[in-house]
Symmetry: C2
Subunit: 359 residues, 2 copies
């Protein structure tokens, strides 16, 4: 039996993936030079379509890399010289902080309380981070940041740069990106594509900071992938290195499909599907949602604690035709993670919920 | 008419590319988790197959990235603290040097003479570079380093680390890799695959140097993509970030095909095809090989100077069914570049040579 991938990324591919590949092959995308006019056309279309899809301001830059992880490194290099502030509520927000620390920044961490909230009271009133790093959606434990929390951070630090990791909440993440300086994600989750491509939106003020750091010359900014080099090539609708051209082509195809379906529809469907899954879990005695505070529940990565451990329930889902992910790292045996991306249809989610009900 | 891509990378895809994609889709490679046993199996098979194909010693590590350019950065970060030596004979060897300079290393450049040779006489006898950076094959101008030159560098600096960029000469580059510490390439040239994946072989002594630098703690080594982090994950047959899994799968398929055809056969065919192209160019009055010294002529990237500029001859080849590359950067209008990779059949090269003869 063909399994339906409800893993948290890489995950189920977009239903038209093979069609898009065939179309790309017909256009020789795999052989396309990254210095050709056709590539620049793709670069421009993709960047514009992404900005429309995410409702990111026109004046933002769009850069590409091999992974979202790389952008954690490049953001720190280009948006900070001394110190960064991190809100840590899982392994990916911690990784962002570590990447900053390894580059010699003072990486202050505010670690989430048991209920998922953050207390800023211990921060001295004189504390001035250059860059604040947020993880919108923790793929490790299914905790999401509420819009109110993000707003409170913006109000507390109005003139500081803010970076937001939306790796596992893109593209349905409902955030006002016009107030965020660096927004980044990869394509193997919500976009239903194979991994190997990262995308970042960069605000004009983040770019200005990168320029200043570059001018100061005291700080390494990433050479071929410094924001300044990325911007120089982006102005020619190119990338500094030979990028994942086919990945960019596929992302543009998915983008067009999503624009056609409309982001509002994708969001409302995501919410409907998430509600179905949480309802099933809330009603189950052997498989409970990990996140009890409903405000903090991720719609796209849903984590549950099976009382008999993860192995049994993963096997049970497999027999029903679904592949879900185990818990992250040390939680491998204790938790499961269920993805809810645009590739997952309501019908499939309903079947999955029936399996939950019968477990 | 369907054009045959003789561009220097991205280039003509492997003839079984679509078959490999279909096979990968059947195995759900696009959805495969990079933390699954199946991925580790792929990681191990690919790494072993690459080492066999390149005749790289068993004890070398194999790491993956989104591009070969990234490895220029990671090599400098992990194999040097103070100074690097660069032999510059084109834009890619210069880029390697610049990436080193941007990281605060003293990047000494020996620039090639007009005839392509390098003079080391001006180097003080006390000069001790930590790392020597060589570009085996300059994609920009079709100059290759002779085996004798590489040996002479090894003899002059027996205890120094040597990095070799084989981006456009892999996999047919005939070099004794057991005496090179970092060997790196990408897949959009000789492997006939879409871009978006870089590979590096790292010697035990290069890894030791990276470990020392990491221990010293004074030097940034690349955080998630430091050699130490890459090695830590490689020991689990994994990568630190979600990599280009499908690209790795395709590379393994191409690798198996190349092993089946044997590297000796690929090399002898490459030489036969290069000889045909150079012979045609040598005999032509309107299209001359750029590199006159036959010892320095690349077999895989063949650069020619058309007396009427590049536009006319590129159009001429197009009408004959072939797409060749323009000159690199400022040479765009003045030169053309013809690739000769394993994907290019002898029959296709013969047809191309007939076109050259009739130009």
């Amino acid at each position: 039996m063909e399994l339906i991938y409800f893993t948290v990324g890489p995950s189920k591919l977009h239903e038209k993936f093979e069609e898009f590949i065939a179309k790309g092959n017909k256009e020789n995308i795999g052989s396309l030079s990254h210095r050709s006019p056709r590539f620049s056309e793709l670069f421009e279309n993709l960047s514009n379509n992404l900005k429309i899809l995410f409702n990111v301001p026109e004046e933002y830059s769009v850069f590409y890399s091999g992974s979202a992880t790389e952008f954690m490194e490049r953001i720190v290099q280009n948006c900070s010289e001394k110190n960064t502030l991190h809100f840590v509520d899982g392994s990916f927000s911690r990784k962002f902080s570590e990447i900053s620390g390894k580059q010699g920044r003072i990486n202050t961490e505010i670690v989430a309380e048991d209920d998922g909230s953050f207390f800023l009271d211990n921060l001295p009133s004189t504390y001035e981070p250059e860059l604040i790093c947020l993880t919108h959606n923790e793929t490790t434990n299914g905790v999401t940041l509420s819009p109110l929390f993000i707003e409170s951070i913006q109000k507390r630090f109005p003139d500081k740069l803010i970076a937001l990791d939306i790796v596992s909440s893109a593209p349905t993440s409902n955030v006002d990106f016009s107030k965020i300086d660096c927004i980044f994600f990869s394509v193997q989750k919500g976009f239903g594509l194979p991994a190997g491509l990262g995308v970042i939106f960069v605000s004009p003020r983040a770019l200005k900071k990168a320029e200043e750091i570059e001018k100061n010359g005291k700080q390494y900014t990433g050479s071929y992938h410094s924001f300044m080099d990325l911007a120089k090539y982006a102005s020619k609708k190119q990338t500094p290195e030979t990028p994942n051209v086919f990945g960019m082509y596929l992302l543009n195809e998915v983008c067009l499909d999503f624009l056609n379906r409309t982001i509002e529809k994708l969001r409302s469907e995501t919410k409907i599907k998430a509600d179905l899954i949480y309802k099933a879990l809330d009603g189950n005695k052997k498989l409970k949602p990990l996140v009890t505070n409903k405000e903090l529940r991720s719609e796209t990565v849903i984590v549950a604690k099976p009382i008999n451990g993860s192995q049994e329930v993963i096997e049970y889902f497999k027999k029903g035709g679904f592949l879900v992910a185990s818990g992250y790292a040390e939680q491998k045996e204790m938790q499961i993670r269920i993805a809810n991306f645009p590739s997952h249809s309501i019908e499939q989610v309903q079947k999955l919920c029936m399996l939950i009900d019968n477990y």
